[in-house]
Symmetry: C5
Subunit: 91 residues, 5 copies
């Protein structure tokens, strides 16, 4: 999974019927030191994540293993809100 931070939203009126009611969040990827890497992704929110929160993202077919995204044309999902993460050992 990837660590990221919610930095924005995407609005899309015209879309696949299976996407109705989904919230598309723009996620800035974070590195181990909580800095942005410069990459981003658009993910469906399945846990009620808010702006500025750190999240975990699952991608690919794994992004369709939530109740909300099952069988939908979605390849990225926010499946957890991160309380904190620690680096313990990196010599």
């Amino acid at each position: 999974m990837i660590l990221g931070k919610v930095i924005g939203s995407v609005w899309a009126t015209k879309k696949d019927p299976g996407l109705e009611g989904m919230k598309f969040l723009i996620i800035g990827y974070l590195d181990e030191d909580e800095n942005f890497t410069g990459d981003y992704d658009v993910a469906v929110d399945s846990v009620g994540a808010g702006y500025g929160e750190q999240v975990l993202i699952a991608k690919g077919s794994s992004a369709r293993q939530t109740k909300l995204t099952h069988n939908r044309p979605v390849d990225s999902v926010v499946m957890a809100i991160v309380d904190r993460y620690d680096i313990h050992d990196k010599e």
Copy 2:
């Protein structure tokens, strides 16, 4: 998902029978500031996207979760036309 802009088309007469009638769009990837990243993708259009429109792309097996692309040898689909996207928080 990835944010992109429709910048071209691909014509292919000789192809897998399952691809008959599909429209192949060339999508230039966009960064958070709506600039092209230099990367592109060829995606099947499932929402009637036109040249110059901003779109969302789903990739991999997720690209086969639309009615049009189900069980087809397609790994990228335009599944939404973007009205707009905003970056709210990126300190």
Copy 3:
């Protein structure tokens, strides 16, 4: 999908039984201006592509959605021969 050009072949006698009779093509990736990007891929040919022809490649599980590649250990397939592609809009 990815745009590429058939630039070579791979011969492999000892292989998974499910691959018997398949033709493995080396595909040089093309950018938007029909130049090689420097990356390549080995793909199974499902449409009778010849050397020098431009092709479309589907990857991952989508590469197994042709009659030839169904349930085979193949992650890349040539599923269309490109007649031409045009860039219409890239300001």
Copy 4:
């Protein structure tokens, strides 16, 4: 699969119900000479890996082929603890 080393943990209280009880490890990727590459991943632990241990990671839908991760929104799993790895031939 990818070789990595367990370097940290992620805590997430609010998450998809299917993730309850899973341990999220931060894995620093290793190159052939056992140095960190600078990339990392967050993977579910299915083998009881501890800090500083070298591990093998399976990604994508393959990460859901363990008893613990079956049908869960997880795209990366630690599926083996590495005793050692050797480079025998690289001329």
Copy 5:
């Protein structure tokens, strides 16, 4: 698929039960001119590949389409030993 060369092995005693008896090979990726690219992968051997041999690798869910790897947490498999590969056309 990717062209590579068998350059090493990984030993792992503690692992997912589904991986019992599998041989994990370290594969150095090759470019079109048979030079190492610097990237590598750990793949399960399904064809009896030896050190120094050139091989083809299938990745992702396609890596689980051999008899040996079916339903196992494996995302990379050696599914062919390469006799030779030729570049015919690259102007």
